[in-house]
């Protein structure tokens, strides 16, 4: 049942071959509309885009409406309904990549081809744009070319990329070292140090029985590592108790929170643990099928994961009759560039081949999940820990961390530190301890948990990373005294505007307004009225949004206003009302039409 899609292929099939290709693709996926994402990945790989005619044909073949297919193509950032370059280059625009110089490097590459952002070169060879955080913050700046990640960008690497593109070298002939993803683990604790023989967790669970396995997880105090901190045992219990035809276990590997890359490390080097955890969960709740929903930004993890699944099948640890007691197999699914799919109900929609819109809850996924059936959705790290709790018992987790936050947390540390990478600490560690261990100096602010998390200022570095103090899904981005925090907050605000699914009014409009206002203020064109607007918009986001994306989208703005207020005040151009647009910027289209960029074509920067 495993499958992956050809994320790495660069293709430019002719229009005549298109329908024949579609036929083969749809047949391979058994004309199953729930497999629309893998189908679209395959079409993208073969054609470079999903043409209007292909959308019609797919709808016909899958027995769904054309609008539904068009809606899915239009929802995910990595699908396109118009041709893009045969080489589609996307620079990660996460703030840590920007701090490491990604904007300059992107400009350099665009100059090499005389292209504006997102423009396709006249020969159709190349297009250059940006994408949300690619999870390579410890080795940024990074880019994706036709979905494949190139980290540690330098002017020299950009030069190499430019000449490979210019020489039309197919992607699979590019030097392999361009694509090498490094592993930077600087501190290990119980989880990353653990040794588990494949099958040990399952066997321990089998000897306990399903109910006692759930009890063990509950007693361990294991809480969700993806951000929400929900008790895993409670979730499993609810799923096991819910009536259903079939049950599912889903591993949420859609690690999209900017600044987070710990799941990348866990899957790259501890996939056995994660999959073992899924099997334990499946046995405990009575699930027969599982999915790993991996973000598309991590194609370099696909082969290893498929290999691991296959080895476990051969070893009798996946599939029918595992240890004579468990029927459970896992399918790998790839996301398509949508942060919101990290929200568990949006992820389920995506798994079902739909736009990733969070569902109304209740009912919750534990009772009405994939296909309306009881489903456990757990984060990668949660499942890895569950496997070890199954093997060693509740105490293995319970004995470290704090009373409310048992166990350890794997952190992704990046930004202004001497050693960016992975650090595993017991819950309860202070922010300062992490900073010291990572070699941070002159730290002015730390963003814990990513943009949706908490922005901490200097006075708060004694606070502890734990659900009861500063919750942390994994991101730990450090900013020193040289950074412009308003630009950091603006970056986060733009991220949310880009990633809002658009379902509800507050998030769809509010994230856009906040991004615009932050842009004005950061550029020195803000007024006191803009500060008031940020507060009004943020209040609406927080109290009226449909899901966690919207309710947390205002966090960086509100934290910024409360903790770094002087930075805002200093940047305000005047206390009076100002034009909400840049007069000179408004002339840009006129300059473009007349091909002028001389001084006389610009308004003076000085306000009259």
């Amino acid at each position: 049942v495993s499958s992956s899609s050809g994320l790495t292929a660069a293709g430019s099939g002719g229009a005549s071959a298109a329908h024949e290709g579609l036929d083969a693709i749809v047949t391979r996926h058994e004309s199953d509309p729930s497999r629309l994402l893998p189908i679209l990945h395959d079409v993208m790989a073969a054609e470079g885009f999903v043409a209007p005619a292909a959308i019609s044909e797919l709808a016909r073949r899958l027995g769904i409406s054309r609008g539904q297919v068009e809606g899915v193509v239009g929802f995910y950032a990595f699908f396109a309904s118009e041709p893009r370059g045969r080489f589609r280059v996307l620079f990660s625009d996460n703030v840590t990549d920007v701090m490491a110089g990604s904007l300059e490097l992107a400009a350099r590459l665009r100059e090499a081809f005389d292209l504006r952002a997102d423009e396709v070169s006249r020969d159709g060879l190349v297009s250059i744009g940006t994408t949300s955080c690619t999870g390579l913050c410890d080795q940024g700046p990074a880019l994706l070319v036709n979905g494949r990640a190139i980290p540690r960008l330098t002017p020299a690497r950009i030069g190499a990329v430019a000449s490979l593109i210019r020489s039309h070298v197919p992607l699979d002939k590019w030097p392999a070292n361009l694509f090498t993803i490094q592993s930077h683990v600087h501190r290990r604790d119980r989880l990353l140090d653990a040794a588990l023989v494949p099958g040990e967790g399952i066997e321990a669970a089998l000897s306990r029985g399903p109910a006692a396995t759930i009890d063990e997880i509950t007693r361990s105090g294991l809480r969700g590592r993806g951000g929400a901190g929900f008790f895993a045992g409670t979730k499993w219990q609810a799923c096991a108790a819910a009536p259903g035809r079939e049950r599912f276990v889903v591993c949420n590997a859609d690690e999209g929170e900017p600044g987070t890359f710990k799941d990348r490390e866990l899957i790259a080097h501890h996939a056995e643990l994660v999959i073992e955890g899924m099997s334990v969960a499946a046995y405990a709740v009575g699930a027969s099928r599982g999915f790993i929903y991996l973000r598309a930004e991590y194609p370099f993890l696909v082969a290893g994961l498929l290999d691991c699944l296959e080895q476990r099948r051969r070893a009798g640890l996946l599939g029918r009759g595992v240890r004579g007691a468990l029927d459970f197999d896992i399918e790998l699914r790839i996301g398509a560039g949508a942060y919101v799919c990290g929200e568990e109900s949006a992820l389920l929609e995506s798994l079902e081949g739909k736009r990733g819109i969070p569902r109304n809850r209740p009912p919750y996924p534990v009772t009405h999940g994939y296909g309306g059936q009881p489903t456990v959705v757990n984060n990668v790290e949660t499942l890895a820990a569950a496997a070890l709790v199954a093997k060693h018992g509740a105490g293995w987790l319970r004995d470290v961390g704090t009373r409310a936050s048992a166990g350890t947390k794997v952190l992704s540390v990046s930004g202004d530190v001497a050693r960016s990478g992975i650090y595993e600490f017991p819950f309860g560690v202070t922010v300062r301890s992490v900073l010291e261990e990572a070699g941070a100096v002159d730290t002015r602010a730390v963003q814990v948990g990513g943009p949706s998390g908490t922005f901490l200022s200097e006075g708060e570095f004694e606070r502890r990373l734990a659900f009861e103090d500063v919750p942390c899904a994994g991101a730990f981005m450090v900013f020193d005294g040289t950074r412009d925090l308003l630009r950091v907050i603006e970056n986060f605000a733009r991220f949310f505007a880009h990633e809002s699914c658009g379902f509800c009014t507050p998030c769809r409009v509010g994230t856009t307004l906040n991004a615009q206002v932050m842009g004005r203020i950061a550029a020195g064109r803000g007024s006191r009225r803009d500060i008031a607007e940020l507060q009004q918009v943020s209040r609406l986001l927080r109290s009226a949004s449909h899901c966690g994306l919207g309710t947390t989208a205002a966090n960086p703005v509100l934290d910024g206003l409360s903790k770094f207020r002087p930075s805002f005040e200093r940047r305000l151009r005047s206390l009076e009302v100002l034009p909400t647009f840049d007069l000179d910027e408004a002339l840009a289209p006129a300059r473009e039409i007349t091909a002028r960029d001389d001084d006389d074509a610009h308004l003076s920067d000085e306000a009259p």
Binding site: P52, A53, I55, S56, S65, R66, G67, Q68, E70, G71, V73, G74, F75, A338, R355, N360, A497, H498, E499, S500, C501, G502, F503, C504, T505, P506, R508, V509, G510, T511, T512, L513, Q516, E533, Q536, V537, R539, L540, S543, A544, S545, H546, T580
Partner: protein, 258 residues
């Protein structure tokens, strides 16, 4: 101890009052009866209490996207159209904070699209405009986004004026569920989310859309317009020109209840 209301009785005795044998919740101090499975919004409307809403239509399953009907239930905010009524729940709706929130959401919708009421064919029949009055909206407050949206005049009898779309999905739902045609769908995401029609050309004329479709009559604003019928009813004599929307909504709910 003097007992002034059913709910004080409840607090004193631990029981929740029943009305005509039906369970109740408390909405802004009033006891509202409901049937099992009913949403807070429909129960409130039937009991004569208006909660502003836009994307809800009693003929369709609510989906809770506009969030204008947001209320606070036991301290947490929820869209009242999707939130099931629960016995004994304490629901706040007509309070300053929530009225301010609704006003903000309606303002969001005004700045998101291109809404020019004085020249709009829907003026007076428009739910957005009527709710705008109901929530006390006098300006759009936020900076308009002035989106560039196409106008689809391809269909011989129908004009699609997408500048006014508030993405309520009622036409999507009506066309799928009642007309069984799936003429409309949504594409894009975030602020680029937009209504599309089910045709490779992207033109309404190339869909099976018909003026007798249910989807023709559900648009709460002025997107789906019948050609050559503009301004047949003079402005000033239209639905919400006669009665404000809170009265209309409550009367319609009473009529549905029968």
């Amino acid at each position: 101890m003097k007992i002034n209301s059913a709910h004080e009785l409840e607090e004193a005795t631990g029981t929740v009052p029943r009305i005509d044998g039906r369970p109740t919740f408390r909405l802004d101090g009033n006891d509202v009866p409901f049937d099992e499975g009913q949403s807070i919004l429909t129960a409130a409307l039937e009991a004569g209490h208006y909660i502003p809403y836009l994307c809800y239509n009693p003929e369709f399953q609510p989906h809770g996207s506009c969030k204008v009907c947001t209320v606070r239930v036991n301290g947490r905010t929820h869209a009242s159209c999707t939130q099931p009524a629960r016995e004994g729940a304490v629901v706040e709706s007509n309070v300053d904070e929530l009225n301010e929130l609704r006003k903000g959401l309606v303002q969001f919708l005004f700045v998101e699209g291109n809404h020019f009421c004085p020249s709009c064919e829907a003026s007076g029949n428009c739910t957005l405009q009527a709710v705008g009055y109901a929530v006390g909206l006098t300006t759009a407050r936020f900076n308009p986004l002035f989106p560039v949206r196409p106008l689809d005049a391809s269909h011989p009898e129908v004009l699609l004026e997408l500048n006014r779309c508030i993405l309520c999905e009622l036409c999507v739902r009506a066309s799928a569920l009642v007309d069984k045609k799936n003429v409309f769908a949504l594409s894009g995401r975030g602020i680029t989310k937009h209504l599309v029609v089910n045709a490779e050309s992207g033109r309404l004329a190339d869909t099976p859309f018909d003026v007798n479709d249910k989807a023709m009559s559900v648009c709460p604003v002025g997107v789906i317009l019948r050609k050559r019928r503009g301004f047949q009813t003079p402005i000033g004599q239209r639905k919400y020109d006669q009665h404000p929307i809170d009265e209309v909504a409550v009367a319609e709910a009473a009529a549905r209840k029968g």
